[in-house]
């Protein structure tokens, strides 16, 4: 599903440049649930941004579902993001003047799905994350866990190939964190490919594979026994 070869990325900070990713090689199959771990500054967010086409690599290859991702124009990148990827952010990033339903329907709007169909589909995904009764609520009227569930519904609404989650539990207490992870696991059970960036050990162990980043290189990549989040809920 995802294949990256020898990925390099550096940032210019005034006169000296900061080499953040120093040759990453990495492959994700369909249906995997991968945790990308590392301390802050290890390059995990940069990697995720490149995977999410929000940022571009300096060198190296990136193939997503057989499509080479290189030298994209902003328009093309927007198209690919919409078609291939779903984002889940640490700070939820819901649009605060739109209701939960409208937020979920947003990717479908950019796919030019007709309004009525859009609403139906969005409602289906809201139901799946258990927030159907909150469809008309604004983000400010929802709890943190609920917001993240709306964000997950939104990420899934466009039926992307891969879900990218950047510290999805970073802003949540542990109980809600497990609830969210439970949801992510269930979505993965349905066959969706998910990448989770986290620095929390227990969250990482709820995935099926852990990739350890340190100073811009992968130091460890192992399959693990998945801990089900259900038991903590």
């Amino acid at each position: 599903m995802i294949e990256i070869k020898d990925l390099h990325k550096s940032y210019k900070m005034g006169s000296n440049s900061l080499h953040v990713l120093k040759g990453i090689n990495f492959k994700v199959e369909e249906g995997e649930l991968v945790a990308i771990m590392g301390s802050s500054g290890s390059g995990k967010s940069t990697l995720l941004n490149i995977l999410g086409m929000l940022d571009s690599a300096d060198s190296g290859e990136y193939t997503l579902d057989g499509v080479p991702i290189k030298n994209l124009s902003e328009t093309k990148a927007a198209q690919y993001r919409n078609k291939f990827l779903g984002f889940i952010f640490q700070s939820f990033n819901l649009i605060n003047y739109k209701s939960a339903l409208e937020n979920v329907a947003l990717p479908l709007y950019y796919q030019k799905v007709p309004r009525k169909e859009r609403q139906e589909k969005a409602m289906k995904y809201l139901e799946r994350v258990g927030l159907k009764p909150w469809a008309d609520h604004l983000p400010s009227e929802l709890s943190g866990g609920q917001k993240q569930r709306v964000a997950i519904a939104r990420a899934m609404a466009g039926e992307p190939k891969v879900l990218l989650a950047d510290e999805p539990t970073g802003a949540l207490d542990s109980k809600t964190s497990y609830e969210v992870m439970d949801l992510i696991q269930k979505i993965n059970d349905d066959g969706n490919t998910i990448l989770v960036v986290t620095h929390e050990e227990d969250i990482a162990h709820m995935c099926k594979r852990i990739v350890h980043l340190k100073d811009g290189v992968i130091v460890e990549d192992k399959k693990i026994e998945q801990v089900r989040a259900e038991q903590y809920v």
Binding site: Q79, Y97, Y110
Partner: protein, 418 residues
């Protein structure tokens, strides 16, 4: 364009900070208001001045004789002379492109003695000896009967057309004037028609005129071949101002006036006066546009500023949208539409307020009666459409820089803004 979600969003964005939106809108509203009111005031002044020209064909000159100031061909200076009726044919033969040449004679005049009698009533009126063409140069509406025709001229009929004012003075209210006789300086004329000039045609005095055939006038009042003055109108394509020198020259030759005697023949070039007024109002209109658009411009800069702030505030939101796959062009369109919508709505409010003020002034003018040199200020539909076009263009301009800066933000940077 007519996308429900887009419009909902525009409304949403503009109503999140209502006071800011209103204050911004006020700038544009004020600009367009000034523009409309200035243009209307200019139009009012123009209407007021043009009223003095009345319905008179403006491509017209009037010409009369005065005493010569130089001797010529053995004739002394200070000599008086009169135009003759055959001068008309001479002008027609020598000067092309003239539409009407009306020789005229006149009795009475402003403040003159009572010269018209009917039964026990008398009045002082202007009595003109005229050819039928005069109705084209000095338009009037014939309210009953008919105007002069060439049979009247040829047969020297003693008939008269009287103005509404004359009828009011000499007749009872319900009396029918047609077929009755009035005595002009002792000579009986039969009334064959009445006229009314539009209000602008010389005011009250314009309604107190009597027109009789030129030939019968000459005979009845002993003018012989003399012509008091002439009203000459040029064809639509050519201007009387250019032809007048030629006409005067022809007259000088015929009446043995020294070619350099500039004072023997007097004339008044209505067209030149009219043109002068026209160009004055052209300049006035230009000033109104410049001032209005300048004021509008500061309003538009205000809109542009606010849109920049809106973009800044929404940086994160724009980032989210782009991460979700919104096209850059779509974001740009959104910002531009917000800007156009804001300018257009506030501009329309300005137009409405301007129209209300104009309406108020008009009804005030109506209630206190006519004011000198000012009449029915108004703006045409053309001006309003023009103003709306200016608004749309300026909305586009105001939104352009903010829209550009909105799509310049990379989604990753936008998302980093916390």
């Amino acid at each position: 364009m007519f996308n429900k979600d887009r419009w909902l969003e525009i409304i949403e964005v503009l109503t999140t900070n209502v006071w800011r939106t209103i204050l911004t809108a006020f700038g544009v509203c004020w600009g367009i208001f000034i523009l409309i009111v200035l243009l209307a005031a200019g139009k009012g002044l123009e209407n007021g001045i043009k009223q003095d020209f009345g319905d008179i064909a403006t491509n017209t000159m009037f010409m009369w004789t005065r005493a010569t100031t130089r001797g010529y061909e053995g004739l002394p200076k200070g000599r008086s002379f009169e135009f003759k009726i055959n001068d008309v044919q001479a002008i027609r033969d020598n000067v092309p492109d003239l539409r009407f040449i009306s020789p005229r004679n006149q009795l009475g005049g402003f403040g003159g003695n009572n010269n018209v009698v009917r039964g026990i009533r008398t009045g002082a009126f202007n009595v003109y000896g005229d050819y039928p063409e005069i109705i084209n140069q000095d338009p009037m509406a014939v309210t009953s009967g008919r105007f002069l025709n060439y049979n009247d001229i040829n047969e020297k009929r003693k008939v008269a057309i009287i103005g509404q004012g004359v009828k009011n003075d000499l007749y009872d209210k319900d009396e029918d004037a047609l077929g009755t006789y009035i005595k002009i300086q002792g000579v009986n004329f039969m009334v064959i028609g009445t006229y009314k000039k539009s209000n602008s045609g010389g005011g009250e005095e314009g309604q107190k005129e009597i027109f009789v055939p030129f030939t019968s006038f000459s005979q009845a009042f002993n003018r012989g071949e003399d012509v008091g003055w002439m009203a000459i109108t040029a064809n639509d394509g050519s201007s009387i101002s250019q032809l007048k020198d030629k006409i005067v020259e022809v007259m000088k030759k015929r009446h043995k006036v020294h070619p350099e005697d500039t004072r023997a023949i007097g004339y008044f070039d209505l067209y030149e006066q009219y043109n002068r007024v026209e160009s004055l109002f052209g300049a006035l209109k230009a000033v109104a546009y410049i001032v209005g658009i300048m004021v509008l411009l500061s309003g538009i800069i205000g809109v542009s500023n606010i849109m920049l702030i809106v973009v800044k505030e929404r940086t994160k939101e724009i980032g989210i949208r782009r991460a979700l796959g919104e096209q850059p062009w779509s974001i740009k369109k959104q910002i531009l539409m917000e800007s156009i919508f804001l300018t257009l709505i506030s501009g329309m409010v300005g137009i409405i307020f301007g129209s209300l003020v104009i309406y108020g002034i008009n009804s005030l003018l109506d209630s206190i009666g006519p004011v000198d040199m000012f009449m029915s200020p108004s703006v045409s539909v053309g001006v309003v459409t023009g103003a709306l076009t200016i608004l749309i263009v300026s909305g586009l301009l105001a939104g352009f820089i903010p829209a550009q800066s909105a799509i310049r933000v990379r989604p990753i940077e936008a998302l980093r803004t916390e």
